[in-house]
Amino acid sequence: MKHSFIDKYSNLDSPVHRIDPRVKLVAVFSVIVIIVSEAPGAVFPFIFYGAIIALLIFISRIPLSYIMKRCLIAAPFILLAALLYPVSSIISQGYQSFGLSNPEVKAGLTILLKGFMALILLILLTSTEKFHNLLLGLRKLKMPKLLGVISALMYRYVFIIHDEMLRTTRARDSRTPGRLTISRLKVYGNQSAMIFLRSLERSQIIYNSMLSRGFDGNFPGMQSLALRGKDVIAATVFVLLVLTVRLTNSNINCYSFN
């Protein structure tokens, strides 16, 4: 399986890459919470959020084309949700009310902006850190041990299962080409069960051998993390900058209503 797209740019060297994964996780989570808490209809503050995120992209040296390409994967989900507001407006009030001044249309636009800003932040997080370091960061942030083990195993199994899927898909398509029918759906079901069975047997063998070598839920060889003061300062500045925009906008809205 070609999986170079996972952590593709995590080997680059930039100030963002060098930040401790725990700090990055907490900062990105906080900033996403701040951005998504914007009220429906707010559009103006996203210019500032966009500028801050653009600066972050510039510092991280992640190519913009790569971020755009990754955005396309989740774009349909965000677009669909953003369209629900205007669609609801058309259903209840008809086409006459449709326009940029319509609060439902503005709310849809806010959803679109929130969705894409959060998405870009998530892409930046995963592109500037190796996946196993993110898992380690989550473990250090007290993620339940069971989740840590399952996630780490998943990271190892998913490539095996994906290869298995590609092989069985090729076999399925060569044997049952054509349109989707009920009988063909059964073939899809058999394929899923087959992938599951083959992978389960293999995963049990792997896990048993891990246990026999003394595996206790911790992955040896994983580097330990060292929290640096300048990482915390950089992340705090980033979060405070976004929070300032958020609070300033709240105050402007507050005054405009009064």
Binding site: I32, S37, A118, L153, G189, F196
Partner: protein, 191 residues
């Protein structure tokens, strides 16, 4: 079905995240060591299953397998689903980080409903498999519609529901097929 960040109300996300973490602890405690590779495998399988697309009316939909997860893992499907969603969110941005708890609750509820249906032994096995597959999708969609409703979306959510109704029917046939396959090849997985 993966709700991205910024789509639904932040308060709903916070409550769902707290509830999800509590459920991970509650359903994952005292997990037998033999179940751990199965859970990791199921999580990975859920992810890979989402890569199997069906051509449908000019577009395509993908498998969820929450019903099958519920049948095989029972209540322990929840931690597996949570881990799978975390993985999908971080690697492919399928679903957000702040909405992780919401997505886990939705899909975990589907698997839980499937498990409850699977335990009704008075019904024929094939019917239980079909219903588990169907409700494995419908329950998450109902929850998702409710979350959209409470986030201020209007009647547009009915459009969303109708899209997933077709997916639920397809999933029920897949679930039936998977159960029949396991019954013939590896019945101990179902008992």
């Amino acid at each position: 079905m993966h709700i991205s960040d910024g789509i639904i109300d932040t308060n709903i996300c916070i409550v769902a995240n707290v509830a999800s973490v509590a459920l991970v602890y509650a359903t994952g405690k005292k997990t037998p060591i033999d179940d751990i590779p199965k859970m990791g495998m199921m999580g990975a399988a859920l992810f890979v299953a989402s890569l199997i697309h069906f051509p449908l009316a000019g577009t395509s939909i993908h498998l969820g397998l929450f019903g099958v997860a519920g049948i095989i893992l029972g209540k322990r499907a929840f931690p597996a689903i949570f881990a799978a969603l975390l993985f999908q969110s971080l690697i492919f941005q399928h679903g957000g980080l702040v909405t992780l708890g919401v997505n886990a609750l939705n899909m975990g509820a589907g698997a839980f409903a499937a498990w409850l249906i699977w335990r009704i032994k008075v019904l024929p096995e094939s019917l239980r498999a079909v219903l588990a597959g169907f409700f494995g999708i419908i329950v998450p969609v109902l929850l998702m519609s409710a979350e959209f409703h409470f986030s201020g979306y209007g009647r547009g959510i009915f459009f969303l529901f109708s899209v997933y109704l077709v997916a639920a029917v397809i999933e029920s046939i897949i679930s039936f097929s998977v159960v029949r396959f396991f019954r013939n090849i590896k019945p101990e997985l179902l008992d």
